[in-house]
Symmetry: C2
Subunit: 223 residues, 2 copies
DNA sequence: GTCTATAATCAGATAGAC
DNA sequence: GTCTATCTGATTATAGAC
């Protein structure tokens, strides 16, 4: 009995722990997206999760670790999405018109960007502080975060190079600049401004930002 | 004698005061550009200016006022630049090739954006915190700031509409979205990332960002 | 592991002499 | 107006009972 019960009990406790920590990271994620790292206080997190602040510090040793955990979770979600997208070998025939004029690589880059914007509009995109902060240092020192960042960059980087080869992405742009430009969509203030103006639906905002990102501001005279 | 000396003396004192306050805003401007509002401390400002913190508070009643003064200064500089650009009625024949295919409005929009990027790369662009903060509220309550912002927006807005009429800017984009997209160049993290990577000169960075902003990421197949 | 209560620190703001 | 010294409040982090 004890031989079976003991491991089960441990597993249950571990599950509870994991669930609790997941609830914490979810709250942190939301607050990070809403106010950013500096403005977010540990008291707020504790209040939102519904536990005492001291209990938080049993799970995470510092505010930076707390935020790191949320960022890692988000990064891994992105990684999973991109890997899934990458495995879809067959060209999607949903949008026949687009597929004929655009290569698969560009299609994936656009899908990724759209996914990012949707997440951001849903308030689930924990944004990095634009200026150097203690959080940046913690993230750089975090193996899981850097691993995720590298895998994500590799996937996107390969698509970028491929899209340039296929004549879909401007080959004059350094791939790294394209990568940064796509990353920047995750913290694009234009999205927030347009949302605040309440003149456009979320879908419209996404289409506007997708257009300015891939087609630019200028009219396509011969398009 | 005193009739002349008194006003002169007052004027001199006023000049000193102005010079001192200019030195303060210059420091604030630099720190704001380097670290942002939250990370910048009043102690730092005092240390950089070379006066005691209490003396700072004789000039400005709060950290917000301090930052506001710097932002207002920057906004007025932008306003002056744009008004100057606006007064150049004659189409610049410097770049004959560009002038033939692009209207004057687009030319001015590009010049403004380039100017912004240069300022940013020079570390003279005090960036707004991306998330809501006490600074935002202070700026909204500041008449000179809001006046400058409105004048700047009016000038840019007129050029945007004109450029759309001339077929240079994508007419499908709401003018307000174009305006926000241009404003966003002032706090574009891509610029910082590219600068940190040290792979490109400032001129190259500007050209890259100008390209992604106006032409987008995609190749111009029929351009 | 969770709680209440408290320590420790840091940064914005002020008092008061000169 | 400038200084040194100090106050105040907010926030990160911890001690210690249960």
């Amino acid at each position: 009995m004890t031989l079976i019960a003991e491991p089960l009990k441990k597993s249950f406790k571990a599950q509870m722990l994991e669930a609790r920590e997941h609830a914490i990271t979810a709250s942190v994620n939301r607050l990070l997206s809403e106010k950013g790292f500096d403005a977010m206080t540990v008291d707020e997190v504790a209040a939102e999760v519904g536990i005492a602040k001291a209990s938080l510090y049993k799970h995470f040793n510092s505010k930076e670790e707390l935020a790191c955990a949320a960022m890692v979770q988000a990064m891994q979600k992105a990684q999973a999405y991109l890997e899934d997208l990458n495995d879809q070998a067959a060209p999607p025939r949903l949008t026949a018109l687009a597929s004929e004029t655009q290569g698969l690589a560009l299609h994936k880059l656009k899908a990724s960007t759209r996914w990012t914007l949707q997440l951001k509009l849903a308030g689930q995109m924990p944004t990095l502080p634009s200026h150097n902060s203690s959080l940046r240092a913690s993230l750089m020192a975090s193996r899981p975060y850097m691993d995720g960042l590298m895998k994500v960059s590799d996937l996107l980087g390969a698509w970028i190079v491929q899209a340039q080869k296929e004549g879909d992405i401007n080959p004059a742009l350094p791939p790294i600049a394209v990568l940064y430009t796509l990353y920047a969509r995750a913290c694009d203030p234009v999205v927030e401004f347009l949302k605040m103006s309440e003149l456009h639906s979320n879908e419209e905002i996404i289409e506007i930002v997708m257009t300015t990102c891939f087609d630019g501001l200028m009219a396509r005279k011969n398009g």
